[in-house]
């Protein structure tokens, strides 16, 4: 029942692109721009997010295995970028920023009056130190800013920090402004932390964020409010309990019993198990990426590299049924354009989808295509699809897909593989069909580029980074290369052209949309992100989004 694949954390990759083309946010705007009533402080929230392991009580923000427990809680980014609201920005440690005209340099104005939780003053020096540390110790440069993004220098001057790049750097804004937690120079420049900033344990993290770790044990992290937090009166919630759940079962039991209020994993049969238990139990799981059938497009796989076969599969499958039965209605159906709706509706080309005939299943067309290729229900094409053992919902979806493909003349064998065996075969291109979802990013560009950009591919037998189906189309490559420097409207246009290629070439076949699992209990805690007010990605494993939740929620009983 472990569902790690659904924990799609959209921290996005170190090599991707632009969110917004307007280069400036207004100076000194309040971090929470919407007018908001204030609340009294008090109350406790308990997070139920299955980790599969006990807590190591390390909080080093440069350690990718543990930084989800410190980013947002303790360490803060410069600017928070909200994926669910067209990349809306909230200034955090930077009160504003200004791009140069060619987007090769950016100047952040650093917020005044911020203190580290040990009482020392925070300054622009700390920001410059954090980025320069990543240059000195490449293992801490998780997003490859210095090596991949062309970062040339970071310097502080007064309350300003200037970053210069060798090329247009707008594509990396999401990474360096939103994903990097700023660390204190006075801690990271002395002792063990300075000697090994990448492996230092950081057991008592000192940050600028709304919470402090107090205390941590292998079973539970308790966060208590930082009394000197720079947003006066916040956080409202004074304590966060984060127990280590080793398995979904106990994590879900605690949610159903109301012992935990903030859920972040899949609950099977959620209606009976969770929603019906209390009128205060709610769920809202926004879709963020696609789950797809990856056909092997390499000529060494003659069947799946044949366009007619892929078109037939894309026409035959009933995505709504897969979402409803395979995923128990907890994930929405995807569509052949590869754009996740409704999250990224702005980019979605519905007209093109209908014009291409993929807006609803068409079994007759699929049968025709297959008979053109020489196959029928009595003389079926035998194909094998690989998937990961233990992803029971994927198994259910695939069983349904197998049923739907049988009448058009495809005999599908489902091959459940252990995670790492599966990885080997997926990365090296050793499959006919594979069932998989990419990590995605803050706009559809990220996911589509991962899947379709030819530089993310590799010859069969070598590991591809994302383009596992081995799609190569110079026109599509060119579109991706233009995207970085394009303005907002042109970017939407470019994505629509990529969607056209998805409809024409069927490089992959999206089936359902992965969601950010989120359940919340409102009996005491109020102010959760909702469908109507998606102020951030709601699951607790989203960094640094969790901070936004923690800054909004408040306790009824404390008022």
């Amino acid at each position: 029942m472990r569902r790690s694949k659904t924990i799609v954390v959209l921290m996005a990759l170190g090599m991707l692109t632009a969110c917004q083309s307007n280069g400036k946010t207004t100076a000194n705007s309040s971090p929470n721009s919407t007018a908001e009533t204030t609340h009294k402080q008090g109350g406790t929230v308990t997070i139920s997010n299955e980790q599969g392991q006990t807590w190591p009580c390390q909080f080093n923000p440069f350690n990718p295995a543990v930084n989800l427990e410190s980013l947002g809680f303790v360490y803060e980014p410069l600017i928070y970028v909200n994926l669910l609201k067209n990349q809306a920005e909230t200034p955090m440690l930077a009160s504003s920023y200004q791009w140069s005209a060619d987007k090769k340099s950016i100047v952040f104005t650093i917020r005044d009056g911020v203190k580290w939780s040990d009482g020392q003053a925070f300054s622009a020096d700390d920001v410059a130190f954090t980025f320069n540390l990543m240059k000195q110790t490449p293992a801490t440069d998780l997003y490859a800013l210095w090596t991949g993004a062309g970062l040339q220098s970071v310097a502080a001057n007064g309350n300003q920090v200037t970053m210069t790049f060798s090329d247009s750097a707008q594509p990396y804004f999401f990474n360096f402004a939103n994903q990097i937690g700023i660390v204190p120079k006075h801690i990271f420049s002395t002792g063990d932390a300075a000697a090994h900033p990448d492996t230092w344990e950081d057991p008592n993290p000192v940050g600028t964020g709304p919470f402090k770790v107090d205390p941590c044990s292998p079973n539970n992290i308790q966060y208590t409010a930082n009394p000197t937090y720079w947003q006066a009166g916040k956080p409202y919630i004074q304590k966060v309990e984060y127990p280590a759940y080793l398995d979904n079962g106990p994590a879900n039991n605690d949610l159903a019993a109301g012992k935990a209020q903030w859920g972040s994993q899949f609950i099977p049969n959620i209606k009976a198990f969770y929603l019906n238990k209390s009128k205060d139990n709610n769920t809202w799981s926004p879709p963020v990426t696609n789950v797809n059938i990856f056909p092997n497009l390499d000529p060494s796989h003659p069947d799946t590299s044949k366009l007619a076969v892929r078109q037939a599969i894309a026409s035959a499958i009933d995505r709504n049924q897969i979402a409803l039965i395979g995923e128990g209605g907890q994930q929405p159906a995807a569509n052949q354009t590869g754009v996740v709706t409704p999250t990224f509706n702005k980019y979605f080309d519905g007209a093109a989808l209908s014009a291409a005939g993929y807006d609803k299943p068409n079994v007759d067309k699929a049968k025709q295509l297959m008979s053109g290729a020489g196959y029928s229900a009595s003389n079926p094409l035998k194909l094998t699809i690989i998937t990961i053992t233990g992803y029971t919902d994927w198994d259910a979806s695939l069983a349904l897909i197998k049923q739907e493909l049988q009448p058009i003349g495809i005999d599908l064998t489902i091959s459940d593989l252990a995670q790492q065996t599966y990885d080997d075969r997926l990365y090296n291109g050793d499959f006919d069909l594979a069932y998989y979802g990419e990590p995605g990013g803050p706009t559809p560009y990220y996911e589509l580029r991962q899947i379709l950009y030819s530089k993310n591919s590799a010859p069969i037998g070598q590991q591809a980074s994302f383009n596992y189906e081995r799609y190569k189309n110079p026109d599509v490559d060119k579109l991706f290369e233009q995207y970085a420097t394009a303005d907002d409207a042109t970017q939407v246009d470019i994505i629509k052209k990529v969607e056209a290629a998805m409809l024409k070439d069927i490089p992959i076949i999206p089936t359902t949309e992965s969601v950010d699992w989120f359940q919340y209990n409102t009996s005491d805690i109020q102010g959760w992100p909702t469908k109507d007010d998606p102020y951030c990605q709601p699951a607790a494993f989203n960094a640094p989004d969790a901070e936004q939740v923690l800054l909004h929620i408040w306790s009824k009983s404390a008022q």
């Binding site: 006990t54 390390q58 295995a65 293992a139 127990p243 398995d247 106990p250 995670q419 790492q420 990590p439």
Partner: protein, 330 residues
């Protein structure tokens, strides 16, 4: 003396063979630590960055296997066990991780094994003594069933009965309630006991049957011996005959069986710890294999091997001491 030396030699050779297998088998499994971390971080970070990260924790992806093997053997004996390179414990010293988990497993699985053994042996003595009674008719047949039940099934049923149906009467997960500060307070100790009850019960239920059956059968064989009849003829009390004459001798095979099972305590009942979210070494092993965490995995395997071998060795020594025939043959 020759017997003891031979047993010691056997111990050393077996230990070396097991350590060698422990080194090579995990490395021949599909996947590697970088790939496991890539899965764990959901493919968001580049494999090159992850490899760099793991290298700074001491992972050497391109090291010659033979050199790595010699390093490994040396490190196992000198206790330089390194840091974990997988999962959320990335970067934590292996000794610390195991130090946190081991007491829980020794407490839970160790105690439950002893309780199961004592209960089973006593019940076996009584059942064998009252051969043909109603107790003897029911007990062995029930025990045949319970000893064949798998751990996880019993665990899940107990959770269903005591935790879900009786609405959280007994906790079904964790080793203690994190909201109670650990310490020598009655609240904390009571909490630890209540958290250990269901998993301990699972182990007792599944293990007690084996002890009952062997003890009962040994008793019946022993009761037919002449010295038991002799005791009766002398007019000794039943109690004395039962425990001092019959059970004492019938107990020997059970004792060596127990020595073996103590060796397995350290590996924890992996399934029990998994079902009950109980954070002992069995659970650690499961996780380290999932994460291809070589340093943690190989130390755990070594501890399990050593525990089994040492208890077998002790059992050999005990047999030599108790049974002159073993010494003579050696």
């Amino acid at each position: 003396m020759r017997y003891l030396l031979r047993r010691l030699g056997f111990f050393v050779v077996t230990l070396w063979a097991a350590l060698t297998l422990n080194f090579f088998i995990p490395r021949m499994m599909p996947g590697n630590p970088v790939q496991a971390l890539r899965d764990r971080t959901h493919n968001k970070l580049s494999p090159a960055a992850l490899q760099e990260m793991l290298t700074s924790y001491g992972y050497k992806p391109n090291q010659n296997w033979f050199v790595a093997y010699l390093d490994y053997l040396g490190n196992m004996f000198t206790g330089r066990w390194g840091v974990s390179i997988g999962g959320s414990s990335l970067g934590e010293p292996v000794t610390k991780i195991i130090g946190q988990a081991l007491p829980w497993t020794l407490g839970l699985v160790g105690l439950a094994t002893v309780i199961g053994f004592v209960l089973g042996t006593l019940a076996g003595i009584v059942a064998g003594w009252r051969r043909g009674s109603r107790l003897d008719a029911i007990l062995p047949s029930v025990m045949v069933v319970t000893s064949a039940l798998p751990y996880f099934l019993v665990g899940l049923l107990l959770i269903l009965f005591f935790s879900i149906w009786i609405n959280g009467f007994l906790p079904s997960d964790f080793n203690y309630d994190p909201s109670i500060p650990p310490g020598f307070s009655t609240a904390f100790i009571g909490d630890v006991l209540s958290h250990g009850l269901l998993p301990a019960l699972t182990i007792v239920i599944t293990s007690v049957g084996g002890w009952v059956l062997t003890m009962r059968n040994n008793m019946i064989t022993t009761l037919a011996e002449d010295y038991v009849r002799m005791g009766r003829a002398k007019g000794l009390t039943n109690r004395r005959i039962m425990f001092n004459y019959a059970a004492r001798n019938a107990f020997l095979p059970n004792l060596s069986g127990f020595a073996m099972s103590v060796g397995f305590v350290i590996s924890g009942a992996i399934l029990v710890e998994y079902v009950f979210n109980y954070q002992g070494v069995g659970y650690l092993l499961y996780n380290s294999v999932q994460n291809t965490d070589y340093p943690l995995m190989q130390v755990l395997f070594m501890l399990f091997t050593v525990a089994v071998l040492v208890s077998v060795l002790l059992c050999d020594f005990a047999t030599a001491w108790l049974d002159p025939r073993a010494r003579a043959k050696g």
